[in-house]
């Protein structure tokens, strides 16, 4: 296992879909996002949207339906989050440098997602945007000694290193509460 871990870690880095995204700490992510949910991906759909300008090819967006619980409040919820890119079929779709991989967003995966509402993600497509696209979805795995772990992605990502999901959830809740209090103070 010891030997396997570095190899697997390298593969994980290689598996990230390319992107240029906003560099965020967890606190910055919480401050900017509308919410964070840990749950299972129960649905996945790719939308084709006309480009807002003439003589331009369509845009594609992938929407994930995530059923789980808010990390901020613990309430059960189902959210739909979307990101640019994806394939409807072999003929229709596009590789997008921002998008998470197919495997990271497969139906049945246990994930944490951060999202923010956008009335126009391009071409008038409105949805909760998966915040920072591939930087807004993190896989959750069962730990060998019990419990679950959210998989960190290294420097520059809101979840930089692996964390136990219960501890991570508490941190998110604390930061969300802090954000709420700051917002109320500012009113």
């Amino acid at each position: 296992m010891r030997l396997l871990l570095p190899l697997l870690a390298v593969l994980a880095v290689g598996a990230f879909a390319p992107a240029q995204i906003e560099r965020l700490t967890l606190q910055q992510m919480i401050d900017k996002a509308d919410g964070a949910v840990r749950g299972e991906i129960i649905g996945r759909e790719v939308h084709r949207v006309p480009h807002p300008l003439p003589d331009s090819g369509p845009l594609y967006f992938t929407s994930l339906q995530v059923q789980g619980a808010s990390l901020a409040t613990g309430e059960t919820t189902t959210v739909i989050v979307s990101y640019p890119g994806g394939f409807i079929d072999d003929e229709q779709g596009v590789w997008n440098s921002e998008a998470p991989t197919e495997a990271e967003t497969a139906v049945g995966r246990d994930v944490v997602v951060f999202y923010k509402w956008s009335g126009d993600m391009g071409g008038g497509f409105a949805s909760n945007a998966l915040y920072a696209s591939h930087g807004g979805v993190y896989s959750v795995f069962e730990a060998r000694r019990g419990g679950s772990i959210v998989q960190g992605r290294g420097d520059g990502y809101a979840v930089a290193s692996n964390q136990r999901i219960d501890e991570f959830g508490k941190e998110v809740a604390r930061l969300a509460l802090d954000k709420k209090q700051r917002e109320e103070k500012g009113k």
Binding site: A9, A19, E22, V94
Partner: protein
């Protein structure tokens, strides 16, 4: 040792998405990744649809000779792409953060700027544009065919984009450097994935207020892994001379025959470059002379030699169609002395511009008060004549006679709009040879000055 403590020590994710490694394959254990495709020669072009809406994205109006005709977002994006070139773009200047350093890839990869587009187009049009809307923390993205058959790059409008070249814009508030982000995105277009090496251009994330515009060692290793390192036989341009008619391209490793020259297409049009084919080189494969077609506009020039693949392309070199440079005036032919013991010497004042029409010819060291005339033709000669050397070949054309002064100096201001005969009309792109014939006290009764070869331009 628990998994957690192990992973904590590694500081990296402990569970890999083995099945997720679909499009992006690791290029090295710790560094660049490749998407699995590369761009063919027909996909090396890029264009810009300048719909960038921020004032800050188009407020750089200072011309840069390395990016002729461009300013604002167009210039910033042009710089971003050519940073991946195999060798310096012109003199490499244009970015204060990397003086004399634009063109750092050193790979068999060279992009070709093709000017402006009329829309963002479709994937495969290789156009860079702004996209209205916002998708959270996504700054920009590149859409590609996974076959390497082209791309489209879009920047979200919800950020404030700065065109540079200065780096003194404030951090925070969603302000991003257009050139820096575009350099990263163009790396994706070429088939580069992300790296985990901090400071590399292909690092996944960036903060606002940063100007990370240069590709770094890890990026260079990646582009070389994908396209091969530029070898010693790859063509390379070292300079251009544009006289308004003929573009002389100097460089190395041009093929004896069957070279091609790629030009930026004038105006807005298609992705395809303007290409002249079947060109021979001279001077041992170091010079190609071409007449650019009217469809070629200011932008970049690339030489493709007769070899195959990316190794056949030179780096892009800026060419400003409006900046006409005449080759220098050269002196040739050796005059024989006059009775005074000195040879007569011809000189030239004014410019080589036909439009300026300010040519003045003068001769010195001719006999005092003698009569003579300037004559000129297209060919050079060196034949005995009278008591001197005839330096201009026939047919030659005579200008009206003039008389030298006491010191043996004679002047003639030539209105080139009024040639002695239509065949003697001086036009841009032609080179004429001038000398002075004069009477002298000697057995033959006449002599000649030396000669000047004068190229004329617009």
């Amino acid at each position: 040792m628990s998994i957690l403590s192990t992973t904590s020590r590694l500081g990296l994710p402990f569970v890999a998405l083995v099945g997720a490694a679909t499009l992006v394959a690791p290029g090295s254990a710790d560094g660049y990744t490749l998407t699995g495709w590369s761009l063919g020669l027909t996909q090396r072009t890029f264009r810009i649809f300048n719909n960038f809406s921020d004032a800050e994205a188009n407020n750089n109006t200072t011309p840069d000779p390395n990016f002729p005709g461009a300013q604002g977002a167009v210039m910033a994006l042009w710089k971003a792409c050519i940073e991946w070139s195999s060798a310096l773009h012109g003199n490499g200047n244009g970015d204060p953060t990397q003086p004399a350093g634009l063109g750092s890839g050193g790979a068999n990869f060279d992009p070709s700027y093709q000017g402006l587009a009329t829309s963002p187009g479709v994937i495969g049009d290789n156009v860079i544009a702004e996209l209205s809307g916002c998708a959270g923390g996504v700054l920009a993205f590149t859409e590609s065919f996974t076959s390497g058959a082209g791309w489209r790059m879009l920047f979200y409008q919800c950020w404030t984009w700065y065109d540079g070249p200065n780096t003194n814009f404030p951090s925070g508030g969603g302000r991003f450097d257009l050139q820096g982000v575009a350099t990263h995105e163009y790396g994706h277009s070429t088939g580069m994935g992300h790296t985990n090496v901090g400071g590399a251009t292909m690092f996944a994330s960036t903060a606002d207020g940063k100007t990370e515009r240069s590709i770094e060692n890890d990026d260079i290793a990646g582009i070389r892994a994908n396209y091969g390192a530029a070898g010693a036989t790859k063509p390379r341009i070292t300079g251009l001379l544009w006289d308004g008619s003929v573009l002389t391209i100097d460089g190395v490793n041009f093929s004896p025959t069957n070279n091609r020259v790629w030009f930026t297409r004038a105006g807005t049009g298609t992705t395809a470059a303007v290409i002249l084919s079947g060109l021979a080189s001279t001077a041992g494969g170091t010079r190609i002379a071409v007449t650019p077609p009217v469809t070629a506009g200011s932008g970049d020039v690339i030489v493709r030699n007769s070899s195959a693949g990316g190794a056949s392309l030179s780096q892009p070199w800026p060419w400003d169609r409006s900046n006409i440079q005449c080759p220098p005036v050269t002196r040739y032919c050796t005059a024989l002395p006059t009775p005074s013991g000195f040879p007569a010497v011809i000189n030239f004042q004014g410019s080589q511009s036909v439009a300026a029409n300010d040519v003045s010819l003068f001769v010195s060291s001719a006999p005092s008060n003698t009569f003579g005339l300037f004559y000129y033709g297209l060919t050079q000669a060196s034949a005995p004549g009278g008591n001197g050397i005839i330096c201009v070949g026939a047919p030659f054309y005579r200008l009206p006679p003039v008389q030298a002064d006491l010191l043996g100096t004679a002047f003639f201001t030539y209105n080139i709009a009024l040639p002695p005969t239509p065949a003697a009309t001086i036009t841009p792109g032609t080179t004429w040879n001038f000398s002075f014939w004069f009477r002298q006290m000697s057995p033959a009764g006449y002599n000649f000055s030396d000669a000047l070869s004068i190229p004329f331009c617009n």
